[in-house]
Structures are given as structure tokens and as C-alpha cells.
Point group: C2
Chain length 198, copies 2
């Protein structure tokens, strides 16, 4: 089936964003990660800083606290409105052009399209720690905390808005362990899946 | 990392067994699926018929009923003994020769080895129904029931014995949707991951 959009969901520190960027470069197609924030700001009226901190990441306090707090009389929270703005932007982008989309539950948001390849990239803890220590200049303990916190917030956000379980293979067309397969092989495998399409 | 053993976990009807058999043929290595049953029978003293019906499949009654019933004073059930026999056979096979192993929680049983590529194959319901209708000569409703029942029993068995969640991407090195990628592409992708090894 012809694919023109690639979504990359990823564990923090797995190199998923980097792999997605490489795939976009190689195909010569658009790449959306943090550069989507200004469009969401325009759509929602919220500040780019607020979006960066909250659009993909739910508060650390966990699923139930998140699900039941901060809602107005209509049952909508600021984060719900932000999510709706993000959803609209992702739907518009997918309509407009072939692209790679990093994170932001794009796999679920675009589930009614047939031209989307959904990829999940994850890794083993020692390799993820090494990567985060280097990228963020933190200690090993700091890296572990950052990895656990970020993935917990991503998981909470995904599970709340999609009613699917983050990291279940079935959500994605393919899932790759980048620590075991290597970044170059992951990139090649993703590209091999869409050679028929863009 | 050099790999010499490939485990294939799979949803019923996803073609995982077929893909695994093709990979084994192409590499010219041993292939273990139902043909492992005689070895488990020898190890456990149980009949091949009992093993076929119970070794990979827990009863339909669900996780908790399964976990807490049919146990003797030591807390062990017949199924626990069967599982232990199966585990020993799988460990011996992995020690002996390069191979493809289908199902039987082999990914978890061999988790301490570094030369194992763990694959999960799953699919979309319409394609799985078509395959099961054809293979088992059943109606569509019959195929749906067979798929749901078999995967429920596999899931219960896996979750009970591995303390992991069946179908979570993290359990495997790669996970592939065979309905979207096609069997031939799945076979090629698996082989591309072990070109350095057997």
C-alpha cells in the first residue's frame, strides 16, 4: 500500500527523532518535530513555551490525576484544547504534503488515512543513558530520571487521548529496537517499507 | 550483534509461522514449531496430545482463574511442570544449533542470550480472517472466534509465565504488521537483521 506519511513514535533517548530526520532528508520530504509548535500556537492562541512543555507531555502526576483534574464545567481542560489544536494542525499537514511526523500521537490522529506508515522506535536502557548523557550533559542518574519522567509523561498523554496503550506493537506498522539494530539499519528498514510510495 | 537464533511470536492468522518457516528455509537452519512436541513429551512424561493443547495455550477462563487453580501443595500445577519441560527443551535447542523457534515464549526463555533476534508478527483483522477461513475451512464468524480464543490463551500463558505483556513492542527486537507489509517483505526484513550472523 502506497505510503506518503511516516509517523515516528519513540522512547526518549532511543534516537527516534534523529532516525526520522534522516529518513526525511533522504526522501527529500518535510520533517515535523518541534517546528510544528508555532502552527499549534497560532491555532490555539497558547504560547509556544506552554505548548512545548505540555502538548506531548502530560504532568508527572499520573493518568487518573491527569484525567480528572483541571477541567471546566464542559469537562474540557486547557490541555484538551491544546490537544485539539495540535490534532487539527497534524491533520492539515498530512493533507498538504508527504512528511515525517515525530511524536504527538500522530499515529492515532491519522488512523483513518491509509497512506501512513506508523513506526515505533525504542531502545535498551544502557544505550539510551549513554545518548542522553551526551546530548544533555547530565550524569547517569540524571539521564535515568529524565528518561523515566519523559516517557511516563508521553505514555500518560498517549493513553489518555488515544485509548490505546503506548508501546503496544499493534499501534504501529513496525517497531524497532534501535539499540540492537543500530540507527542506520532502522533508517534503511523504514525506507524499505515506503519505497513504493513517496 | 551476531544473531544465530530467531524467535517468532505471532498473532493467530498473521502468517508468523509461515514467515518463520520461510526464513529458516532460506538460511538453511533448523525450524522448530509443532515438531518440538515430541521432545517436550520425552522431557515431561506427558502425552503429545496434552502438550499440543496446553503447552502454549492457557485455558480460556482467563489470567486469574488460571493463576490460582489446579495447583498442588507445592503450588505447582501440571501446566507449570509442562512449562518447565518446554523451557528446558528450548534452552537445549538454542545451545545446540542456529534455528528459528515459533512461539512458546521462546523470546523470554532465551532472554539471557545475546545471540537471539526476537520478532513479533501481527496483522489486521480482515486479512487474518481471510487466512484462517482458508486454512481451517471455517466461516468468517468461526474464524473471528478462533482468532480471539487462541490469542487470548496465548496472551494469558505469556503474561503468566513471563511477567511481561504479550504484544508490547519492547519484548521484541522488531515487530511487523504482516497485513500492511506483506509476508515477503516481513521475511526480507527479518533476514536483513541477521545477515551478519548465522
Amino acid at each position: 500500500m502506497a505510503k506518503r506519511i511516516i509517523t515516528i513514535s519513540r522512547e526518549f533517548g532511543s534516537g527516534g527523532r534523529f532516525i526520522g530526520e534522516e529518513v526525511a532528508k533522504q526522501f527529500g520530504i518535510a520533517y515535523y518535530s518541534e517546528n510544528i509548535i508555532d502552527q499549534i500556537a497560532q491555532q490555539s492562541g497558547l504560547s509556544p513555551e506552554y505548548i512545548e512543555e505540555n502538548a506531548e507531555l502530560s504532568p508527572k502526576r499520573g493518568f487518573f490525576a491527569y484525567a480528572f483534574s483541571g477541567r471546566d464545567i464542559t469537562g474540557k481542560s486547557v490541555d484538551d484544547m491544546l490537544y485539539e489544536a495540535q490534532r487539527k494542525v497534524i491533520l492539515e499537514i498530512a493533507e498538504k504534503e508527504p512528511c515525517v511526523l515525530i511524536g504527538r500521537n500522530a499515529d492515532f490522529i491519522l488512523k483513518d488515512r491509509e497512506d501512513v506508515l506508523n513506526v515505533f522506535i525504542y531502545g535498551d536502557m544502557p544505550e539510551k543513558i549513554k545518548r542522553i548523557c551526551k546530548l544533555y550533559d547530565v550524569t547517569e542518574d540524571g539521564a535515568v530520571k529524565l528518561i523515566k519522567d519523559t516517557d511516563k509523561r508521553r505514555r500518560t498523554n498517549y493513553n489518555f487521548y488515544t485509548e490505546q496503550k503506548w508501546g503496544m506493537a499493534k499501534n504501529y506498522t513496525l517497531s524497532l529496537n534501535s539499540s540492537q539494530l543500530g540507527y542506520a539499519r532502522c533508517k534503511k528498514m523504514i525506507m524499505d517499507c515506503v519505497d513504493i510510495c513517496i
